[in-house]
Amino acid sequence: MKDLIKIDHLRTHFFSDKNVIKAVNDVSLRVREGETVCVVGESGCGKSVTAMSIMGLIEEPGGKVVGGSIEFDGRDLLKLSKNELRTIRGNDISMIFQEPMSSLNPVLKIGQQIMEPLMVHQKLSKKEARARAIELIEQVGISRAEQIADSYPHELSGGMLQRIMIAIAISCGPKLLIADEPTTALDVTIQAQILDMLREFKKKSNMSMMLITHDLGVVAEMADYVVVMYAGKVVEEGEVVKLFESPKHPYTQGLLKSKPIINQRQDELYSIPGQVPNPLDLTESCYFHDRCAHCMDICRTKQPALKEVADQQKAACWLYEEAVVHV
């Protein structure tokens, strides 16, 4: 399979008075054609910032992509002008956000918001765009499409709005869909509907998907390939079944163990001690060392590199470094 998007050594920093926050710190990942890659991590690990960097949504002077490259279909997105980027955004790459309630314009009718990208990118006339918009609303499983097209966002429920967001995102037949926590704000029964729908669209159109989530259950259901992030870095990545069966990095192991699973009761849940480090206090070390049960001397002073540790599985951990004498 061909790489559709290839991110190499991406670094996105945010600047406050005197400090630099390295939100994305040397992240490399790729999504192949027709593949679903899930990016997992806790709040503040840089997963959303990675997505925003791809879309060119990091606004200066607050933040800036300071290094690396994002190659999409043979072109480096970071080198494109604003106008060139605009022809790709919403057309070849589209994005769904976490909060459907706040990502739609409250004063525009639903229909108009679906028609906009169709008229801009596909050059459809107003009439054609409206017909297509109604088709799309039906495609995402909403009945009374005509009526919905003429209503405002506040008249619809969260699940319906997320369907509308998906309709907008797939309207131009994107090659890559980036979904940033698309079901986090929704109820479980609605989440199941939305995930089923995303899976179905992907199958039908051979679209690639980058799904950002913190829910390991969602990952297991949707992903082909998983990337685990911690404090702005990729700590582990691998094929989904292998990663869930034998996670290598202590953080991934901890995450998997700490999630309660229905019908697998434990007396006490495993929990990773401590908390995510303050992004301002990061020094040359493994960023997970102070929460890790296997911490060695080298972990406190040197950063491990992401290396292949098993077939189709990479981890950044000194435990798998042969030169290090295990204590």
Partner: protein, 321 residues
């Protein structure tokens, strides 16, 4: 039952819908519609349901934070809706509430120590000189350090703030804690820490919880008995083992099958519900679930199913069971 700590019977809470210049009441949102729950000392009752099912309203009416429409709530055998305000106030320390959002439930301008000690001072439970000691003690049992006492809320992470929320409730030595989605806003690794804390506190202090959550995996982990709510009504209650092994109501089955399980390639039979939860201001006739129920028959549209014992204290409201 006389040994019950909290006994909610046939509780109803209707919110009026007002419209027009004269604010005339044109209808009611039946947020809680005939709910009965009994919680014994040291027990954890889990209340599950989707947003808009009325589970938070049950929590609030159960300790009279908002007034009921009808029904009865007894706490330690005392009908709390009969009490005059001063008497109710004396009872308040023994029933406490923990909120979902640890960011908005703490006053950003009050030091953590003062926020925790405030209620002790207010209720005059402990002499002023001893308050600091009590606060320190409770901070420690919630997994915080003594130097945290003089800090402000913004200096804490989400998980730590939730610990502060728990400490505020705990300092009064309550018998009952109503926890309204206490771990929903937290990350997985922090969520596990807080769940363990809830458990530990229950073991050491014999607390009873009314644990409100939409996350069935968390509820299974903590609760001894579970009630499932849909549009203001209870559709099923059973002990934890019974509910998870043998769910009877189609809604419970659908909820259970909708939770994503972190095991890839696991083939499960999933009941995917169609559509959204209907508006509680205009609930469907008969069984409120019939519009989304994959097994609905004609009878469900007309007749309200009785909430009855299907054997061994497993209550369910469904015509088909």
């Amino acid at each position: 039952m006389s040994d019950a700590l909290l006994e909610i019977s046939h509780l109803k809470k209707y919110f009026p819908i007002q419209k027009g210049l004269l604010n005339r009441t044109v209808g009611h949102v039946k947020a809680v519609d005939d709910i009965s729950i009994t919680i014994r000392p040291g027990e954890t009752f889990g209340l599950v349901g989707e947003s808009g099912s009325g589970k938070s309203t049950v929590g609030r009416t159960a300790i009279r934070l908002i007034e009921k429409t009808s029904g009865e709530v007894k706490f330690k055998g005392i009908n709390i809706y009969d009490l005059p305000p001063e008497e109710l106030r004396k009872l308040r320390p023994s029933m406490q509430l923990i909120f979902q959002d640890p960011y908005s439930s703490l006053n950003p301008r009050i030091r953590v120590g003062d926020a925790i000690g405030e209620a002790l001072l207010d209720h005059g439970l402990v002499p002023k000189a001893e308050i600091r000691d009590r606060v320190l003690e409770v901070l420690q049992s919630c997994g915080l350090s003594s130097y945290h006492i003089d800090r402000f809320p913004h200096e804490f992470s989400g998980g730590q703030r939730q610990r502060i929320g728990i400490a505020r409730a705990l300092v009064l030595n309550p018998d009952l804690i109503i926890a309204d989605e206490p771990v929903s806003a937290l990350d997985v690794s922090i969520q596990a820490q807080i769940i363990n804390l809830f458990r530990k506190l229950q073991e050491t202090r014999g607390l009873a919880y009314l644990f409100i959550s939409h996350d069935l995996s968390v509820v299974e982990h903590l609760c001894t008995r579970i009630g499932v709510m849909y549009l203001g009504s209870m559709v099923e209650t059973a002990t934890r083992d019974e509910l998870f092994k043998n769910p009877l109501h189609p809604y419970t089955k659908a909820l259970l099958s909708a939770v994503p399980v972190p095991i890839p390639k696991l083939k499960r039979e999933r009941i995917v519900l169609k559509g959204d939860i209907p508006s509680p201001s205009n609930p469907p006739s008969g069984c409120k679930f019939h519009t989304r129920c994959p097994f609905a028959v004609a009878r469900c549209k007309e007749e309200v199913p009785e909430f009855r014992d299907a054997g061994g204290g497993h209550f369910v409201a469904c015509h088909l069971v």
